[in-house]
Amino acid sequence: MKSVLTKITTLLAIALLSGCASHMGPTSGAPVEDSNTSVRVPGQQTPAQPSRTDNKQNPNQDAEDNRGWRVIEPTPEPDAPAQGRTNSAVDALLQQGRTQYQGGDYNRAIASAERALRIDRRNPAVYLLLAENYQRLGNSEQAQQFAQQGLRYSRDDYTVDAALRGVLGEL
């Protein structure tokens, strides 16, 4: 009787777990955006990914104690993209570009923004700067293109997102 109960519980657990499985673990989620993290450098060892079996010290022992059941820890979220380092260069250029924009030097501001894009082409603030400068220059076509491109990356930055939409609204 006890073994049957165990087996039923087991089956239920399997059903439950298989239902949940699609929402956890690296095989089921789209890999987190990699663009800022894995700057792969030739000849470097790739950083070891946390492995699901890492927390097992003695597989055989666990199997014995738990009759084959084992706990699967949810894999930790990979670290947020390391924004810190590239940002100071991009920030400096953005600041320079802002100053140039405010001074009416639109072409130089655009040049600064393009330099920033070469370092990080997914920074929405750079697209905002470009859109505003082209707007001032009367080039509404490029202003619109850059604003829309910026919106692709501004989901996490409310201020910039709003500003981009603002520019689009004015065009």
Binding site: S22, D34, R108, I119, Q142
Partner: protein, 781 residues
């Protein structure tokens, strides 16, 4: 009666004769006078003419200055990927000298500590389009392939730009090259040495120095050799600047007159300045090196202001005969000549004893011959010229001294050349064949800047540029555009849509038949759309292309940026379109940016010869495809490399790096293509033969290998994996395209547009095999 007086007639002829003689003499004197006057007038006119010549050329544009072409400047910032090898080769190409203690611009010091390498650099400063960057000291540390620290003094430095390397030029028809320099830009020692050696009394004479001529004659007679020249600097300038090198008396006279005239009109400093820019100092192939500033770059790869005593002496010594005293071809003679010059410098007290000894002992200090990058990137410079030709007249390009700043990355260029050469050599050895050729283009993703261009297996060869001009059928490289056309109709197609890969026959109105076959000669029945692209099934793709319509497919290729001819035939869907690697990069760039089109750029800006900004080539973008469709296509192109025809790529790369690409092979394997990209770099490779004969290579066997060889060397970021709004990942059933779930048999994980997700779901049959092996099996022991 009177008698005739006879003496009279006798007197007359005598008188007449005498008178005639006097008359004759007077006439002669008169003629002589006329002649003299005429000569004087003629001489005067001649002098006036020479005066005009002297002034016209001196006041006008003195020289046709070649346009100079520069690579992109290296921008440094913390977190940037950079290795010591790459950094040092960049510094070396710019002529930086490694020293123990950095004291002046152009110097760098290096300290290695375990894996960390630290540099102190004194940059030279440069006139960029957006302003002047001053010379400045900074410190940089490289650790684990990245810039770990960037400071100036004690302040952190956000961004630092080194001066760009000159990579080429557009030379005047006379093939003269020079870098203009002002007298103030020369080290004072150089001017003083020049005067001491060539023309001691320069500051005193009036163009010609009879004393100098006499002295030289005496000295030369005594030593039995031409040790001293009697010509002043002014005369030398006139000879080189205005006249030819023939040696005749009239020419010498002309030279003398013009020298005096020059001195009359212009100051000593003006004359000297023109001299230092005119003097011939070397020959590089067809290019003549004029002026000390260029000679300094040519022989030492340093700006003339940085030259030390020994180098100054060598250059001044070469004035006497640049070829005769060439330090590469005749190093012993060059050294002896330098010793003579140093002796003069010492005698005239321009340098002290210690400096004299040091300079005598110093090596010549010249760089390796032929290491000048000025002629070493011909394929890329060809592209630059073509882009310039759209805006500038050829004549102006050759003479106005424009400064052209390009997108070339010498680092990437060197690596691309190496990848092509080495891989082609190894393929030829492997397949025991010869005459393989290649064209390759590398661009950045986003700004579409051309970073590298290889036109020939031998990159130094400036002939047929295959990257720009080899138009070949693209074969399967066309398929992504067929599939993109489908994905742009989300109501009808997604990556899981079932396509038929059964044999297909296409007929035309006049009875022609086309029956494309899969390269494996097998049919695969019904397949999901993604599989047909990933495994490059011809039959499914042709059928799909016909369903969508040839006009639609052609339109997709045009929207992606192709401006050439697309034959309106069904075979077009399988790539019977001829394109160059450059054009392929143009359209694949649109795929790499998820649908945003930017024309490829090789030029960033142009300045005048004096550093005034002239023109900028700004970034222009245009979203031409729906980001949702483009993202799905990009996912499929990643799958090509994970599971499809391009899976060899991951033999050389870590599975953590997302890359995307497509292989292409044409009939009889005449063309081996690969177009692939990361989040940062796009590269297109063509391998084949110039005579269009068959090769033993498929796309993945040839071009892909070259691509992988390059991309493994480039620090790069992966393809973006975040879907745009409106797209999310889900499981679909492989066989029917209906919804499925993880663990079900035949479930595939793909991105879908949420607004157009299939409504039907399959009955999930748990994938027994997997379970049994890993989970189920374990549990039941």
């Amino acid at each position: 009666m009177t008698k005739r007086r006879t003496p009279a007639p006798r007197r007359k002829p005598r008188k007449k004769a005498a008178a005639q003689k006097r008359h004759g003499r007077a006439l002669l004197k008169l003629w002589f006078l006329y002649a003299v006057v005429f000569a004087i007038v003629a001489l005067g006119l001649w002098v006036v003419y020479l005066d005009f010549v002297v002034r016209a050329k001196f006041d006008g544009k003195k020289w046709s200055l070649p346009a100079r072409v520069y690579a992109r400047p290296l921008e440094l910032y913390e977190g940037m990927a950079l290795t010591p090898t790459l950094f040092e080769s960049e510094l070396k190409a710019l002529g930086y000298r490694f020293v123990a203690n950095v004291a002046a611009p152009g110097q760098v010091s290096r300290h290695a500590n375990g894996g960390r390498v630290a540099y102190h650099v004194y940059s030279r400063g440069f006139e960029f389009w957006d302003g002047r960057d001053p010379a400045r000291r900074f410190a940089l540390a490289l650790n684990q392939g990245q810039v770990s620290r960037l400071v100036s003094g004690s302040e952190p430095l956000a961004l630092m730009r080194l001066e760009p390397e000159q990579i080429g030029g557009i030379y005047p028809t006379a093939q003269e090259d020079r870098l203009l320099v002002r007298l103030s830009g020369l080290p004072p020692l150089l001017g003083e040495t020049l005067l001491a050696v060539e023309d001691k009394s320069f500051l005193d004479h009036y163009g010609v120095s009879p004393l100098a001529i006499a002295r030289a004659a005496w000295v030369n007679l005594r030593s039995g050799d031409v040790v001293q020249g009697g010509s002043t600097l002014t005369q030398q300038l006139v000879k080189n600047f205005y006249l030819s090198h023939e040696r005749s008396l009239t020419r010498k006279a002309q030279e003398a007159v013009m020298s005096v005239l020059l001195e009359v009109h212009y100051s000593k400093s003006e004359i000297l300045e023109t001299y230092v820019n005119e003097v011939f100092l070397g020959q590089s192939g067809t290019r003549a090196i004029h002026g000390f500033a260029l000679a300094s770059q040519y022989y030492f790869r340093q700006p003339v202001s940085e030259l030390d005593t020994a180098k100054v002496a060598l250059l001044v010594g070469m004035v006497k005969g640049a070829s005769y005293y060439n330090p590469w071809r005749n190093p012993e003679r060059a050294k002896q000549r330098r010793a003579t010059v140093l002796m003069v410098m010492h005698r005239e007290r321009l340098i002290d004893d210690a400096e004299y000894k040091r300079a005598q002992a110093a090596p010549l200090g010249v760089v390796e011959p032929g290491s000048n990058a000025q002629t070493t990137y011909p394929a890329f410079v060809q592209l630059v010229k073509r882009q310039l030709a759209q805006e500038y007249q050829e004549e102006d390009l050759r003479s106005d001294g424009l400064r052209i700043f390009t997108t070339l990355s010498p680092m990437v260029q060197r690596q691309a050349e190496q990848a092509v050469q080495q891989r082609l050599n190894s393929l030829e050895a492997q397949y025991k064949t010869e005459n393989l050729q290649a064209g390759m283009l590398v661009t950045s993703v986003g700004a579409a800047e051309v970073l590298a261009l290889v036109g020939d297996k031998n990159p130094r060869y400036a002939g047929f540029n295959r990257a720009l001009d080899a138009h070949r059928p693209i074969g399967s490289l066309m398929k992504p555009f067929v599939y993109l056309t489908a994905l742009e109709q989300p109501a009808s197609y997604n990556l899981g849509t079932t396509l038929s890969d059964a044999p297909v026959t296409v007929s035309s109105d006049d009875g022609q038949l086309w029956q494309p076959q899969n390269s494996s000669r097998r049919s695969h029945g019904d397949v999901p759309l993604i599989d047909a692209l990933v495994h490059s099934y011809n039959q499914a793709s042709a059928r799909l292309g016909m369903q969508l319509g040839l006009a639609q497919v052609a339109n997709t290729l045009q929207r992606a940026g192709f401006k050439g001819y697309i034959p309106p035939v069904p075979a077009m869907t399988l790539g019977s379109v001829e394109m160059s690697p450059y054009e392929v990069a143009g359209v694949y760039h649109t795929l790499a940016t998820e649908g945003s089109y930017t024309p490829l750029r090789a030029i960033r800006d142009v300045l005048t010869s004096t550093g005034e900004p002239l023109k900028r080539y700004p970034l222009r973008i245009e979203q031409r495809f729906r980001p949702q469709s483009a993202f799905q296509l990009q996912y499929a192109l990643q799958a090509v490399l994970r599971e499809g025809t391009g899976k060899r790529v991951y033999n050389q790369f870590s599975a953590d790096l997302p890359l995307a690409g497509k292989t292409g092979t044409t009939n009889d394997q005449r063309d081996s293509w690969f177009a692939g990209f990361s989040g940062e770099h796009l590269a297109v490779v063509w391998v084949g033969r110039d005579d269009n004969s068959a090769t033993p290579l498929t796309g993945s066997g040839g071009a892909l290998q070259v691509w992988a060889d390059l991309m493994t060397q480039l620090p790069t970021r992966g393809v973006n994996l975040t879907p745009p709004q409106g797209v999310s990942f889900d499981w679909l059933d492989h066989d029917t395209g209906a919804l499925s779930a993880e663990g079900c048999e035949g479930a595939i994980w793909i991105p879908l547009e949420t607004d157009f997700a299939p409504s039907r779901a399959v009955d999930c049959r748990l994938d027994q095999q997997q379970r049994e092996r890993s989970w189920w099996h374990r549990f039941w022991n």
